[in-house]
Amino acid sequence: MAYAMLIDESRCMACRGCQVACKQWNDNPAEETHNWGTYENPPELSAITWTKIKFTEKEEGDEVRWLFLKQGCMHCTEASCEAVCPTGAIRHHGQYVLVDQQWCIGCGYCVAACPFDAIHSIFESEEGGEEKATARKCVFCVDRTTNDLPPACVKTCPANALDWGDRDAMLAKGKERVGVLKASFPKANLYGEHELGGLHRLYVLTDEPSAYGLPEAPRHATSTAGGQWLSGIVTAGVVAAVPFWLLFKRQRAKEASEGGEGQ
């Protein structure tokens, strides 16, 4: 049975209890932050912040709508991080996409490849300054969820915005909720059913995904790699022909004609 997390953003009130529960269960230290003009904090996911609520203000006429998005690893079926990982440290285990912390070399390629900016290898160390280490991200509380407990964030959510269970059941529940929301939010939709082969974080949204800062069509990092290899190799071939082959052909022709005149 594949599990999934259902995140009902219409119920989220941005208390950020999930952020704290995540840090506590996973033993991640706090980040030193400063006021940057919003309740949203810390500003970005990091190697020690695996989930956070992203705040977006959307103006609609005279009204401003406040949209909340619980960010974190989507555990994509077609995971870019897994595809680019040069050592095979990132792999699927059922629906979990996990980084083998004993095998990861901390190259940072997955960080550049993730379409959701959900995996990181640099963090502020407690001694001060930045430290680069192995790649870290949400693990769906694998130590809890393989023992029939919900992830820490789901357990703590006081608004009933989070749920954890069989992916098909979560999909059905999410679609039902979207149906209800359509009455007051015509753009309500369910995100994650088909993206990248199916995400294991499903979102009930009241507006289009881009309004929340989600990519409308997330792209797999290596989806065009064949073309990129070809682009580089063909360019080398073209450069060998123009200018090199052409110029040296001209030089040979010149030499031949000069040689002819000399005879």
Binding site: C85, I105, A112, T235
Partner: protein, 315 residues
């Protein structure tokens, strides 16, 4: 995203490009001239192999867990450009060393003064020198893969300046070939080329003047091609990659990377060397201006890697 790849990677991308590009140019010129420029592949590898080794060291320094670098060699994963790069770099370095040793062993035949033991060793190795022809072709393929992969590495990601931008590998390839050629010119024109040739079993003859002259013309053409590809890359970003791509273009043209881009990449790296080269081709050639333009092309290659690698992470 956070700045995960920094100066180590900038320098690596730059010098790996020089190493691969130099061998590519050296092989192509030597082949097209009917092996009248045997000195060039020797220069390319004598400088290129150490560059690749230094680059690999920088790659390891950049890792979060340096002592686990060997994990890279436990897999062969065609889908991961970084894993492919590991194997390409390794093979390029190994074959490069083998070729250098084989060339060096030939110098024993020339009876240059050497301790007897070393001379005997060289004589023994030189029997294998017949494989040099095959190796030089394999090394050409590896050089092409090496200069192509650095662009593929970045494009196989989800950062707006790199993701799926097909002209990025093309841009890096052209820049690698231009900087590789500049390195060859610098070594050749400062007189080190003849020393390299003698040390590696050649007669120490300089590369014929007409070949040097044609390489100068090729360098001008490369500069123009690089400008065209660079403009194509920017147009691709600005007009065909959505809002994120336009933001990436702005980072280069008007944003935090603009000074390095206009001053370093465009002016110092492309425009000034082109002007110097055109002047020296049309009028009397001044050695100083040839050396200056080659140095500037090398510098421009560095700035190009810097703005693309660092700028790509602040979009």
């Amino acid at each position: 995203m956070t700045m995960t790849w920094k100066w180590e990677l900038v320098i690596y991308l730059w010098i790996a490009g020089i190493a691969g590009g130099a061998y590519f140019v050296a092989f192509v010129v030597n082949w097209l001239t009917g092996r009248k420029a045997e000195q060039l592949p020797k220069i390319a590898l004598l400088v290129g192999v150490p560059l690749v080794l230094v680059g690999s060291l920088l790659l390891i320094v950049d890792l979060g867990e340096q002592l686990r670098a060997w994990h890279l060699f436990t897999t062969f994963k065609i889908g991961s450009p970084m894993n492919m790069g590991t194997w390409i770099l390794t093979l390029f370095a190994v074959i490069g060393v083998v070729m250098l040793v084989l060339w060096w062993s030939k110098s024993a035949e020339r009876g240059s003064t050497k301790p007897a033991a070393l001379s005997g060793l060289a004589g023994a190795i030189s029997r294998l020198a017949g494989v040099l022809g095959v190796l030089s072709w394999i090394q050409l393929i590896l050089a092409v893969l090496l200069i192509a992969y650095t662009g593929v590495l970045l494009s196989a990601s989800n950062q707006p300046m790199w993701a799926g931008v097909l002209l990025l590998p093309a841009l890096f390839v052209v820049s690698a070939i231009a900087t590789g050629m500049a390195m060859l010119v610098l070594v050749m024109r400062t007189g080190f080329g003849r020393w390299v040739d003698e040390f590696l079993g050649g007669a120490g003859e300089p590369v014929p003047n007409d070949i040097v002259h044609t390489m100068g013309l090729a360098s001008i053409a490369l500069g123009i091609i690089e400008i065209v590809v660079l403009v194509g890359f920017l147009v691709w970003l600005g007009f065909f990659s959505g809002a994120a791509g336009a933001a990436a273009m702005a980072v280069l043209l008007t944003g935090p990377m603009s000074v390095l881009f206009w001053g370093g990449v465009v002016l110092l790296g492309l425009v000034i060397p082109l002007v110097l080269e055109v002047v020296s081709v049309r009028g009397k050639e001044v050695l100083g201006s040839v050396l200056a333009s080659a140095s500037l092309i090398l510098l421009g290659g560095f700035f190009l890697r810097a703005v693309v690698l660092l700028g790509g992470q602040i979009v």
